[in-house]
C-alpha cells in the first residue's frame, strides 16, 4: 500500500518495500539500550537541549543591545528611526529576523526542557518504574 501511495508499482517495488518493512521491524525489535550503551556519554536529548538553549541564549544576548540601539534611534527624532526601518526591509535583514524568531523558539524549547519531562515531571518515578520493570534487578551492561 505504501509503495502504491508513493507511486511505485510492480513486483520489484513490492519486494523492496517488504525488505524495508522487515528491516524496520528488526530495528524495532533490537533492544534500544544496546544503542544507548554504544553512544557517546553526552549524546542524549537533554544534553542537546542544553546546547540549543545555551547557543541561542548567547546569540539573543548579543542581539539585545543592537535592538536597544535601534529603538534608541527614536529618541533622536522620527527621521533616523524611519531610515533604519527602511534599511531593515532588505531581504537579508528580513531573513535575519526570521533567524531571530527561530532562535527565540529554540531558546524556549531548550529551556522549557520538553525532553527532560519524562524523568523530572509527571508521576513519581515513572521512568524508574518503567525501566526497572524491564530489568528487574541490577542492570548488567
Amino acid at each position: 500500500v505504501a509503495a502504491e501511495w508513493l507511486g511505485f508499482r510492480g513486483e520489484a517495488a513490492e519486494f523492496a518495500m517488504t525488505l524495508v518493512a522487515i528491516a524496520l521491524t528488526l530495528l524495532g525489535l533490537r533492544p534500544w539500550s544496546r544503542f544507548r550503551r554504544m553512544r557517546a556519554p553526552r549524546n542524549h536529548p537533554a544534553w542537546w537541549a542544553f546546547i540549543v538553549h545555551r547557543i541561542s541564549g548567547v546569540a539573543l544576548a548579543l542581539f539585545l543591545p543592537a535592538h536597544f540601539l535601534a529603538m534608541g534611534l527614536a529618541l533622536r527624532g522620527e527621521a533616523p528611526l524611519d531610515e533604519f526601518l527602511r534599511w531593515s526591509e532588505q531581504p537579508l535583514v528580513v531573513a535575519g529576523e526570521w533567524v531571530l524568531v527561530m532562535l527565540l523558539a529554540a531558546h524556549l524549547a531548550g529551556g522549557s526542557g520538553f525532553s527532560r519531562w519524562s524523568s523530572c515531571r509527571g508521576a513519581i518515578g515513572r521512568r524508574r518504574s518503567r525501566r526497572s520493570r524491564r530489568d528487574s534487578r541490577w542492570r548488567v551492561d
Binding site: R34, R36, R37, M38, A40, P41, R42, H44, A46, W47, F50, G113, R116, S119, C120, R121, I124, G125, R127, R128, R131, S132, D135, W138, R139, V140, D141
Partner: protein, 209 residues
C-alpha cells in the same frame, strides 16, 4: 571507571556491548583526583554528601514508638525513587557541571539530600535546604541529565535536584515552606497551639484554630 569515554561499572559491563569497533579504552573516573593508574580518590565525592546534609538527623529517641510511614504517601514515594543509590560516583563523573564548578555538590549528594528531605522522621530540614541552596548547590544544575542517562541503578538524580529546587524556592517565597515531609515538626508545633483530646488535635486545621 571510564570505558570508551563513558563512566561505567567495569565489574558489570560486558565488553562486547561497549566495544563497538573492537577497541576498549579504560581510564579512571573523571572529575576526581587520580591516585594511581585507574584508581580515583573518592574522598571529595563523599565529603560533598556530608556538605549537602546527607546525614540523618533523628527527632525521636529509642523510647518513642516507631514512626509510621505510609508506603503510598507522596514523601515516601519520592524518597523511594532515589533511595537505591550505591554511591558508585558514575553520575558525578558524568556531570559537566561538576567539571565546570569544582565546588558543585554533584548529583549523588543532592539525590541523597532529596531522599532525606522526604524523610518524615528527619529534623534537619532547614539546615539541609540551606546547604543545598548555595551557589554550588541544586540551582547550579543545568538539567544536562547525563547522570540520569548513565546511572547504573536507573535512578534520576535530575528529578531529585528538581525537587530540591522547588523545596528551596518555597523556603524563600513562603513564610511557611510547604514541605511535604514536615510531619513530626508540624505535629509538634500543632501541639503547642491546640489543646484538648487526641481526636481534637487530629481534626486540627488552620481555619478552625
Amino acid at each position: 571507571m571510564t570505558v570508551n569515554g563513558s563512566p561505567r561499572w567495569t565489574c558489570r559491563t560486558h565488553v562486547d556491548n561497549v566495544a563497538a569497533a573492537g577497541v576498549l579504552e579504560i581510564a579512571p573516573l573523571a572529575n576526581l583526583p587520580v591516585v594511581k593508574d585507574l584508581v580515583a580518590d573518592m574522598r571529595e565525592f563523599f565529603d560533598k554528601w556530608a556538605r549537602a546534609g546527607g546525614r540523618f538527623k533523628p527527632t525521636a529517641s529509642r523510647a518513642d514508638p516507631a514512626a509510621v510511614v505510609k508506603p503510598d504517601s507522596r514523601a515516601r514515594r519520592e524518597a523511594d525513587a532515589g533511595i537505591e543509590c550505591i554511591g558508585c560516583g558514575i553520575c558525578y563523573a558524568a556531570c559537566d557541571v561538576v567539571a565546570w564548578n569544582k565546588d558543585y555538590l554533584g548529583p549523588a549528594a543532592l539525590n541523597r539530600a532529596w531522599t532525606l528531605v522526604n524523610d518524615v522522621r528527619d529534623g534537619g530540614q532547614r539546615e539541609r535546604l540551606a546547604a543545598v541552596a548555595g551557589d554550588a548547590g541544586c540551582h547550579s544544575c543545568h538539567t544536562l541529565m547525563s547522570c540520569t542517562e548513565l546511572c547504573p541503578k536507573s535512578l534520576s538524580p535530575t528529578r531529585s535536584i528538581a525537587g530540591l529546587k522547588r523545596a528551596t524556592a518555597s523556603l524563600v517565597f513562603a513564610a511557611s515552606p510547604p514541605l511535604r515531609n514536615r510531619g513530626r515538626q508540624a505535629m509538634n508545633s500543632r501541639r503547642e497551639v491546640v489543646s484538648g483530646s487526641r481526636n481534637a488535635r487530629r481534626r486540627w486545621c488552620w481555619p478552625c484554630a
